[in-house]
Subunit: 251 residues, 2 copies
């Protein structure tokens, strides 16, 4: 169960050129998420990364460039993950399950970066903003196509596809607003719950996900770990922990 169908090395390399740069990026993500772009001064930024403001400029170019790098990198990973999921999920119900799971897991674990992407677009200068918005649109297209295909195949029934897409994305992104590591549920349980909620939303009163068991294996944990170069907490059992299973609606 360990070896997935993931390509050899799909990970996005970090944009950092060395360890100091990496430290700056990490500090900036945290501060931008906490206080916002305009609420974060370059002196805070420098102090948080442990160097002078002059040294900071050696790496970041300008403060606005730093924000752009952070958002561009975060979105690039999301797009890559979505494209791999699309390529390796034949059944559209499975595809959507995986999109939701990936989105929720990354929004919980890469909380700060997700919040920066979601809330700080307005702080970008107009040219950079265009690039970022196009990336975000590209990501949303994977969702739009999944929903469209599911409706065409007769699996999904929604009052309006765009609204359904926005609803699922908003509720899944919302996880980054309220999730905290010590909470009632683990990341995987929250992902399970949101897969359930999305399924209900898309079935509009019909039957729930009856997942075909013949799908080739693609482990979302492995995918996220390789693309984000992070280590996820072990999940208790698979798929779905006992707690999440118990909460599930009997059909």
């Amino acid at each position: 169960m360990s070896e997935g169908v993931v390509l050899s090395k799909p990970g996005v390399p970090s944009p950092a050129i060395n360890e100091t740069h990496q430290r700056i990026l990490e500090s900036a993500v945290r501060l931008f998420a906490d206080r916002g772009f305009y609420g974060t001064g370059i002196r805070e930024l420098a102090a948080s990364a442990g160097l002078s403001t002059a040294s900071l400029y050696h790496y970041m170019g300008t403060k606005e460039r730093l924000l752009f790098q952070i958002m561009h990198d975060a979105l690039q990973r999301l797009v890559l993950a979505a494209s791999i999921i699309e390529a390796q999920s034949d059944d559209v119900r499975v595809r959507l399950d995986r999109l939701v799971r990936m989105h929720v897991v990354t929004h919980a674990l890469s909380r700060d970066a997700s919040n920066v992407v979601d809330n700080q677009v307005g702080a970008l200068d107009p040219v950079d903003r265009l690039v970022i918005v196009e990336q975000r649109d590209a990501y949303e297209r994977f969702w739009a196509h999944a929903i469209r295909d599911g409706v065409d195949a007769g699996y999904f029934h929604v009052p309006d596809q765009s609204s359904a897409r926005m609803a699922i994305l908003e509720m899944s992104s919302g996880v980054a607003r309220w999730y905290s590591a010590g909470g009632k549920y683990s990341v995987d349980e929250i992902a399970d719950i949101h897969v359930d909620l999305a399924a209900s939303l898309l079935h509009g009163g019909g039957t729930r996900f009856d997942r075909p068991q013949t799908e080739p294996h693609l482990d979302i944990h492995e995918l996220v770990e390789s693309i984000w170069a992070i280590r996820l907490p072990e999940r208790a059992s698979s798929p779905g922990t006992k707690a999440a299973q118990a909460k599930r609606v009997p059909r």
Copy 2:
């Protein structure tokens, strides 16, 4: 069909002490929503309201106080609306329908204020933030109780009540992020769609809202208009325009 069961004058009086103050509040809401609290300077604020920075201070106290007034007022209206809905909706399915409708309509029409409430809490000083967070919690409690009552009555089936509440609130608040007046759907159609989506989400694969027709009348248009002191665009037919009706899932 015009006279609802609404109390005589439930409206929240505007916190503005005169027309100039009102202009300041409106400018501030727009600017804070567009550029954020820290991204808005008092000189922009003054220029946008058509006076000097010195005069600005005559009304707003401090910039932070101005933000607090805006958020407090917006949340007060939401809480009042929710309490009236709770008091006048016997059936829990109707109660949730109305909560969603009210929330979506106000987030579309009072877009800027909603975005300020949703995104600028972090800019408040710790004392003010406590007050605002308590108001927001009070508002969410109406939703929590509605969902709990619906589950207890056997109408709703969700994997987790808190997650379901956050999901519905996030997707409904999301309207304030992407709604624009010239879009494909009218405000009422968007509200209809979200009532549908919330219903699907809460029924978890069961049957949809079969609304009891015996409920005493409470018109959400009237409610919102009186509490927010605004005039909503006329809705084409009632309930639900043709466009929204056509999109609806046949059962």
